[in-house]
C-alpha cells in the first residue's frame, strides 16, 4: 500500500533514466544508424556525404570468420567468468566472513588487482610471458628446459584468460561480501545451535540469502565477458597470435580504431548489445533473481 501512489515513482526514476537516454541511448541509436552507411571518417565533415550501403555490414557479419572466433571466445569467457570469477569470489567471500582476525587485511589486499590499471597488469603479464627473457622462460632456463613460446596459437587463449579472470575476482569478492554482511548473525547462531554444520549453513542460509547479489554478479560477469577489452588488447593486441584471441570487444576496437572501418565497428557494437541482452535474459530466466518482484 505504501507503494500504490505513482507520482514518487516518476521523481525517483526520471532523472537517472533521462541521463541514460541522452548520453547512452541516443548516441547508441545514432551508432546503429551509422552502421547502414559507409562512413569515411568518425564524424561527418561539413559538406561530406556518406554512401548508404543498407545491410551490407550485417551480411558481412555472417561471413566473417573472425566474428565467429570472437563470439566463441566471448562465450567461453562468459562460462569461465561465471565459474571461476564469481565462483572463486564467492568462496573467498564466505571464507573471509567466517574468520575473525585479519578480515580487513584480506579485504584490502584482494582489491589490489582492480586498483592497478589494466595497462600496468598487462605490461606485467607481458613480461611474464615474453619469449626472450620473460619470467616464465627464466624459470624454464633455471630448470634446464627449453624456452616455451607461451603465447603460441594453441596456448594463447588459456594464457590470456588467466589475467582476465584473476584481475576481476576481487571485484565480485567485494560485492558478494557486501551481500553476506547483510545476513544477520543470529541466523547462523540459531542454525549452529540446531546442529547445522558450517558446510550446510552455506547451502541453507548463505546461498539463498545472497541470491539477489549473486544474480547481479552473474549478470555483470556475463556482460563483462562480452565487453572484455583492455587486458587482451594490451597483452595480445589485434587478436594475436593469428587472430585466435579475438573477443568481441577487441575485434570491435580493431575494426573501429586500427582499421578505421567505423561502420563495421558500429555493427559489431550493435551485435555485442544484442547478444548481451539475450544472454542476460536467459540468465535471469534460469535463476530468477528476486522473489520480491513476483
Amino acid at each position: 500500500m505504501l507503494y500504490k501512489k505513482k507520482l514518487p515513482l516518476l521523481i525517483f526514476l526520471v532523472p537517472g533514466l533521462l541521463l541514460m537516454v541522452l548520453f547512452l541511448y541516443k548516441p547508441f541509436v545514432e551508432n546503429i544508424f551509422n552502421s547502414f552507411y559507409d562512413m569515411t571518417s568518425v564524424v561527418k565533415m561539413p559538406g561530406q556525404e556518406w554512401k548508404f550501403i543498407g545491410l551490407e555490414n550485417y551480411k558481412r557479419l555472417f561471413q566473417d570468420t573472425k566474428v565467429r572466433i570472437a563470439i566463441l571466445n566471448s562465450l567461453k569467457m562468459m562460462l569461465l567468468s561465471i565459474v571461476f570469477q564469481v565462483g572463486i569470489a564467492f568462496l573467498l567471500a564466505v571464507l573471509v566472513s567466517k574468520i575473525g582476525r585479519g578480515q580487513h587485511i584480506f579485504r584490502t589486499v584482494y582489491f589490489f588487482p582492480i586498483v592497478i590499471s589494466a595497462s600496468a597488469i598487462g605490461l606485467m603479464f607481458k613480461l611474464f610471458y615474453n619469449y626472450n627473457g620473460g619470467m616464465l622462460n627464466q624459470i624454464m632456463a633455471a630448470l634446464g628446459k627449453e624456452p616455451i613460446n607461451w603465447l603460441s596459437p594453441d596456448k594463447a587463449f588459456s594464457m590470456i584468460s588467466i589475467p582476465i579472470i584473476w584481475s576481476y575476482v576481487g571485484f565480485y569478492f567485494v560485492i558478494i561480501l557486501t551481500g553476506l554482511n547483510a545476513i544477520s548473525d543470529e541466523l547462523y547462531e540459531a542454525a549452529s545451535i540446531d546442529g547445522c554444520s558450517n558446510f550446510k549453513q552455506v547451502f541453507y542460509i548463505t546461498i539463498p540469502m545472497v541470491r539477489g547479489v549473486m544474480c547481479s554478479c552473474i549478470t555483470l560477469a556475463v556482460t563483462g565477458a562480452l565487453k572484455v577489452f583492455d587486458l587482451p588488447w594490451v597483452i595480445v593486441p589485434k587478436g594475436a597470435p593469428q587472430g585466435v584471441t579475438h573477443f568481441l570487444g577487441t575485434y570491435m576496437y580493431e575494426q573501429t580504431f586500427t582499421i578505421s572501418n567505423i561502420d563495421y565497428g558500429s555493427t559489431l557494437a550493435f551485435l555485442i548489445v544484442v547478444l548481451g541482452v539475450i544472454v542476460s535474459k536467459v540468465v535471469s530466466v534460469l535463476i530468477k533473481p528476486d522473489k520480491n518482484l513476483q
Binding site: 568518425v42 559538406g47 615474453n130 589485434k238 594475436a240
Partner: protein, 450 residues
C-alpha cells in the same frame, strides 16, 4: 600489523591533503601566469632578457593566444627541438601565447584530430600529414592554401625548396602545408654480428638467405620484426622490390601479380625461421630491443630510428636486396615528405591571429629551424649545412639515402586508410599461409575502390 596499517593510512592521507592544499595555492598563481605554464617543460627562466628588446613592439599588439598542434610529441626525436623553437618564438613575440598540444601521431590521435575538425574545434596551426593520411581532415576544407598566404606574405615559406613544397602537396595537388623534413626507410644491420660469423652484408638476395641461415644456426634472430604490430616497412620494401617503382606506385584496379609476389616472400621468410619465434605477439618496442641488444641481426625501419640505437659505431644501413624475379633496380628506397605546417581558415580569418599564425609557421620552417629538425636524419626541405660531428651510423644513413636510385613514397600515401589498415591486419595470415596474398590484395583494392 594493524598499527602499521593505520600509520600508512595516516601518512597517505596527510600527504594527500597537503598536496591538495599546495595544488590549490599553486593554481591561483597559475591563472595569472598562464604563459609560464606552457613553457614549464623548458624551465622558462632565460625569457626576460630578450623580452625587453621586443617590448616596444609588443605594446602595440593585442595579446594573441595561438592554439597549435603538432606531431612532435611523445617519443618523436624532434619533440625537444619543437619545444625549443616555441620557447624562442614566445620570447621573440611576447604578446603571443602558444597553447600547444603535441602528441605522438597514432591512430587514436588522428581520430581525435578528425573529430576536432568536424565539430569546429580545430587549432590555429597544425603540423599534420599531407598525403592520404590526412584525407579525413582535408575533407573538412579548413586549410588556407600556400598561394593564398603568399599573396599577402611574400616571405612565407621562402626558405623551403620548391621541390619539397611540391612533394608536400595534398592528394588533390594543392599546396597547403609547409614541410620541414622528410624521411627514408632502410635496412639496419648489426655489422659486428655479420663480421663475427664471416657474413657479407645482405646487398643481394643470396647473401640475405645465407645470413638468415647462418644466424638461425647460431641462435641469433635474423630479422627483428613484429608482424602483428608493425609489418609496414616489410610490406613496402617487398612490394617495391617485386614491382619496381612504377608498378608499386600505381594503384591498380585488379590484383597486380607483382604485389602478390612481393607479399609471398613473407611466407618464405617465416618458413626459413627469419622472424622471432613470437613475432605474432611481440610489441614493436620489444622487437627493437632485440635488435639494439644484438640478439637480432637486421631490422627494417625509418630514418627516425637512427638516433635511438645505442651502438652508433657498428650499426649500418644498407639498401634492401631485390627479391628473385623482382622488377626494381638495386638501390631502390622508400621515403618521402609527408607532413607540414598548415594554417587553418579559422586563424586566417581572425585579424589578430592571422599574423601570429604566419609568424609561427615561418619560425618553424625557416632554414635555421629545418637545420635543427633535420640534424642529419632523413631529408631536409630547405637548404641545410652538412653536419661536422656525425656518428658512423649517421654517415651510413646519409650515404644510403643519397645513393638511392629511386625514391618512392609508401603505399599508405596513395590508398584509403581503411584499405591500408586492412593490408596491415592481413599480413600475419599471409605469412603463415592461412591466406593467399592475392586474396588479401583483392580485399584491399575492393575497399579502396568503394
Amino acid at each position: 600489523m594493524r598499527k602499521v596499517k593505520r600509520l600508512v593510512y595516516l601518512v597517505l592521507t596527510v600527504v594527500f591533503m597537503m598536496s591538495l592544499l599546495a595544488a590549490c595555492k599553486k593554481s591561483d598563481v597559475k591563472e595569472t601566469a598562464k604563459t609560464k605554464q606552457e613553457t614549464k617543460d623548458d624551465g622558462g627562466t632565460k625569457k626576460n632578457e630578450s623580452k625587453q628588446e621586443t617590448k616596444a613592439e609588443s605594446d602595440k599588439q593585442n595579446p594573441v593566444t595561438l592554439r597549435t598542434v603538432s606531431m612532435h610529441g611523445g617519443t618523436d626525436p624532434n619533440a625537444a627541438n619543437y619545444q625549443e623553437l616555441n620557447k624562442k618564438f614566445m620570447s621573440d613575440y611576447p604578446y603571443i601565447t602558444i597553447e600547444d598540444d603535441s602528441q605522438t601521431s597514432d591512430q587514436d590521435w588522428k581520430t581525435r584530430i578528425a573529430a576536432d575538425f568536424a565539430v569546429g574545434n580545430e587549432p590555429d596551426v597544425i603540423q599534420f600529414f599531407t598525403d592520404s593520411n590526412a584525407s579525413d581532415v582535408l575533407a573538412a576544407d579548413k586549410f588556407v592554401t600556400v598561394a593564398e598566404i603568399k599573396a599577402e606574405y611574400p616571405d612565407y615559406a621562402k626558405d623551403t625548396l620548391p621541390a619539397a613544397l611540391e612533394a608536400a602537396a595534398n592528394p588533390d595537388g594543392v599546396q597547403r602545408a609547409v614541410p620541414t623534413t622528410g624521411y627514408w626507410e632502410g635496412l639496419f644491420c648489426n655489422k659486428d654480428l655479420f663480421d663475427k660469423y664471416g657474413l657479407e652484408l645482405p646487398t643481394d638476395w643470396d647473401k640475405m638467405l645465407k645470413a638468415i641461415e647462418t644466424f638461425k644456426e647460431n641462435d641469433i634472430i635474423p630479422i627483428a620484426v613484429s608482424l602483428n604490430a608493425v609489418p609496414h616497412y616489410w610490406i613496402e620494401f617487398l612490394m617495391l622490390a617485386a614491382a619496381g617503382p612504377e608498378g608499386y606506385t600505381t594503384v591498380p584496379q585488379s590484383t597486380p601479380e607483382d604485389w602478390a609476389k612481393g607479399l609471398e616472400v613473407f611466407k618464405t621468410l617465416r618458413d626459413l625461421g627469419a622472424f622471432p619465434v613470437d613475432t605474432d605477439t611481440i610489441d614493436n618496442d620489444f622487437a627493437g630491443e632485440l635488435f639494439k641488444n644484438k640478439q637480432a641481426a637486421m631490422q627494417l625501419d625509418g630514418s627516425w630510428y637512427t638516433g635511438g640505437i645505442p651502438d652508433q659505431d657498428n650499426t649500418v644501413v644498407v639498401s634492401f636486396p631485390v627479391i628473385p624475379g623482382g622488377k626494381a633496380e638495386a638501390g631502390f628506397m622508400v621515403g618521402g615528405l609527408s607532413s607540414g605546417f598548415y594554417i587553418t581558415k579559422k586563424a586566417w580569418n581572425d585579424p589578430d591571429k592571422r599574423d601570429a599564425a604566419v609568424k609561427f609557421v615561418m619560425t618553424h620552417t625557416c632554414s635555421e629551424a629545418v637545420q635543427k629538425y633535420w640534424n642529419g636524419n632523413g631529408t631536409a626541405a630547405a637548404k641545410v649545412e652538412p653536419l661536422a660531428d656525425m656518428t658512423p651510423l649517421g654517415i651510413s644513413g646519409l650515404n644510403y639515402s643519397s645513393a638511392a636510385t629511386s625514391i618512392s613514397t609508401p603505399t599508405d600515401a596513395r590508398i584509403k586508410q581503411e584499405a591500408y589498415n586492412t593490408l596491415i591486419a592481413g599480413i600475419v595470415d599471409v605469412s603463415t599461409g592461412a591466406r593467399t596474398p592475392a586474396d588479401l590484395i583483392d580485399e584491399v583494392l575492393q575497399i579502396n575502390g568503394k
